[in-house]
Subunit: 139 residues, 2 copies
Amino acid sequence: MSEIAPVADATARARLLDAVRFDARGLVPVVAQQHDTGEVLMLAWMNRAALAETLATGRVTYYSRSRDALWRKGETSGQVQRLVDLRLDCDGDALLALVDQQGVACHTGRRSCFSWALREGAVRSVAEPLVDPKTLYDR
Amino acid sequence: MSEIAPVADATARARLLDAVRFDARGLVPVVAQQHDTGEVLMLAWMNRAALAETLATGRVTYYSRSRDALWRKGETSGQVQRLVDLRLDCDGDALLALVDQQGVACHTGRRSCFSWALREGAVRSVAEPLVDPKTLYDR
């Protein structure tokens, strides 16, 4: 796996941006996967500005639908995602970000946001928090 | 990892369905990951009916936005996904399906749909087709 980020070449960044098919809201879903372990950490959204910033800085920036603003992952919590590589799918309407996740990805203190599943007939947490979420945001 | 699927208990299926936050269109994004290798295969969508069928049958069924119909993965191509486990994320608005992918996931004949990336300044395929896509659909 080659480390592409940050992408210094503005022309290359523009080519990638133009290959993405953003939806009617101007968004594209992004799957974040830890580049070496393969763990799927989270699914979030980017608009064109978030993707452009991610490519230019090598730090993953999403678009927060609830806050209607760029969301620089880890800006508040310190749980930064460094971009290692970025994959487009076959029709360009979904992205896979291979990242190096600092600490935990989930606001609950769990490593991955995908930590709930059906167990013994009920939806239960299948991974314990690694850190107290209060320590992520009370800084 | 426990094999949960198919889920025989209708009450358990209903609990899982009720824990999912479908969007305004009634859809939820689903990341499909090969359960043993960790490879991210594709991102697609489910509505409530697709998820209910997936849980009841143990074979992954998506919702095709272009065809506005249930999409039983592999029905045409034979490239079936058997459900091994299903994870919900922390706010219930994204799913991670751990699957056993028969053959390739991508309609281009590639193992994963996420097979394009920036290389030498251009968006290029980073994985070759394992099968001729014609053989997937000319059956």
